[in-house]
């Protein structure tokens, strides 16, 4: 079971409950329609990891790394100190695509949604560093939407297999975000088959599905992030 530490203790049980069937080396698929809190959930997952002393890799594909910091700031989750300490590695896939000239720094790497090999090279470099830093770490890919838009779907699936293998080797926990309806149903099915744990967000409840079975929790989004609604 992954221990998820949150800033507010009452939220901890909720997340522990969702992740109780996940183990190091697993791939978790967070999916659902747009605007249901998938990315906020990831920010929360990232921040809880950092607060709990677990380093993290965050691959930001739908917006730039600066936007990631800004969006997290809206919830009072400040990334900057963790970036400076080298506790979080960020791979930014969009800034270069937007034509901005940027250079890699220690823990901030730039790649491109059109260059999946380069992305995987940087994932490899980051996971090796994180593994050296801590025996436990998390890797989040948010999200597949733009990656699917720029690449053949089967290539993206092969990328995910390689991503999963890389995270598993290093005994990390991988999270991948997918917006439903952005690819063909057959590709969506293949995505589901790759995941060890699936978390389906629909705006009201999170449905967790793994080999251990299914369960769900009701949730809402507040200025403190995704919170469960106690029934």
């Amino acid at each position: 079971m992954i221990s998820v530490m949150f800033m507010e203790d009452h939220n901890m049980e909720f997340f522990d409950y969702l992740f109780e069937d996940a183990a190091p080396g697993d791939l978790i698929l967070v999916y659902g329609p747009p605007k249901v809190g998938k990315s906020i959930f990831c920010y929360q997952f990232l921040y809880s990891s950092l607060v709990g002393g677990e380093p993290c890799l965050y691959i930001v594909a739908d917006y730039g790394s600066r936007q990631l910091e800004q969006r997290m700031m809206e919830f009072n989750w400040f990334l900057r100190p963790y970036i400076q300490n080298g506790d979080v590695y960020i791979i930014d896939l969009l800034t270069r695509l937007a034509g901005v000239k940027v250079e890699d720094s220690g823990t901030l790497k730039f790649s491109s949604v059109q260059n999946l090999t380069d992305l995987m090279v940087k994932v490899g470099v980051s996971t090796r560093s994180l593994f050296r830093k801590s025996s436990k770490f998390r890797a989040i890919l948010d999200s597949l939407t733009v990656i699917f838009a720029f690449n053949p779907p089967n290539l993206v699936l092969r990328l995910l297999k390689a991503y999963k293998a890389r995270i598993s080797e290093a005994r990390g926990i991988g999270v991948v975000v997918h917006t439903t309806g952005t690819v063909e149903p057959s590709i969506e099915n293949s995505l589901m088959e790759l995941a060890d744990l699936k978390l389906c967000f629909d705006g009201e409840k999170i449905q967790a599905e793994s080999s251990a079975g299914e369960k769900f929790v009701q949730y809402t989004i507040t200025d403190k992030g995704v919170k469960n609604i106690r029934g």
Binding site: Q114, N115, T117, D118, G124, L155, R158, L159, A162
Partner: protein, 285 residues
């Protein structure tokens, strides 16, 4: 009085129509005479009549006919084997056909392509001839100054919009990237990395290793239909074949590269190949 010349009074429209007919007739005759001289190989006479025909076309304000004369002038230069001049005339004709949206435009475009191909073939034949003249040298025994060729190859590489751009990656990092590209079957990246690895080996003068990388890259670039990159690989392979003394394969690769660059509409790249060939075969400009 002038009316008497025609015996009866006609309308202004009749006269203008008649004048037009006379011009058209004159134009046809001038073109036929030019054709007659061209058939006999009397190029200057042919040009003289074509120039007269051009003036008539201008007088008639008929752009289609102007283009036809320029096309014919190009034919005269083509017959004289002055291909560059011929291409200039054909291009002028093409411009006019394009400006009036003439159906002859596409035909002209094809003709220019064909003549450009012919030009490349002639240049290659000249290279062969030059090599024949120095037949006391065996190909492969030439002293090739690779250091002079490498900057040209770098310029060629700089023209590529490579999928994979590891600016200062080590060989180990590149090999890791190659493994990843192969694992996820990212053929475009795999080919680009092979090209980079081949280039590094080539610059280290490890030509056998470079050859292996380039052959694999060639196969993948053919599959992904990346003509510019494939052309660049062909140039490297051509040089390696040349260094190995296999002149036939070398020329075949250079020819392929020129065709690929032409298809990619990159004459500058073709020019670089010609420079490389001049350096290899020691031909002065």
């Amino acid at each position: 009085m002038i009316l008497d010349l025609f015996g009866r009074k006609r309308s202004l429209e009749d006269y203008i129509r008649r004048l037009q007919e006379l011009w058209e007739e004159e134009f046809d005759i001038l073109l036929s005479i030019a054709g007659y001289y061209l058939d006999k190989g009397e190029h200057e006479d042919a040009m003289e009549y074509l120039e007269k025909a051009f003036k008539v076309a201008v007088e008639m304000d008929d752009k289609e006919l102007e283009a036809l004369v320029l096309d014919s002038m190009g034919e005269v230069y083509l017959d004289k084997r002055e291909i560059d001049v011929a291409i200039e005339y054909f291009k002028e004709a093409f411009k006019i056909y394009s400006s009036i949206k003439s159906p002859n435009r596409e035909e002209m475009k094809e003709k220019i392509k064909e003549v450009e191909k012919m030009k490349e073939a002639i240049e290659m034949a000249k290279l062969h001839e030059k090599l024949g003249e120095t037949s006391t040298f065996r190909p492969g025994k030439f002293e090739v100054d690779i250091d002079k060729i490498v900057p040209k190859l770098r310029t060629l590489l700089g023209r590529l919009e490579s999928v994979y751009k590891p600016s200062e990656s080590s060989i180990e990092e590149l090999k890791e990237a190659l493994d990843i590209a192969a694992t996820i079957n990212d053929e475009s990246s795999e080919a680009s990395i092979l090209l980079i690895l081949g280039t590094r080996s080539f610059e280290d003068k490890n030509y056998d290793e470079a050859f292996n990388y380039f052959k694999r890259a060639e196969e993948l670039f053919s599959k992904t239909e990346d003509k510019m990159s494939l052309g660049t690989v062909n140039v490297f392979l051509g040089i390696i074949y040349f260094l190995r003394g296999n002149e036939e394969e070398a020329l075949e690769n250079f020819k392929n590269a020129i065709e690929l660059f032409r298809d990619s509409d990159d004459p500058k790249a073709s020019e670089i190949i010609r420079d490389i060939c001049r350096l290899l075969y020691r031909i002065k400009r």
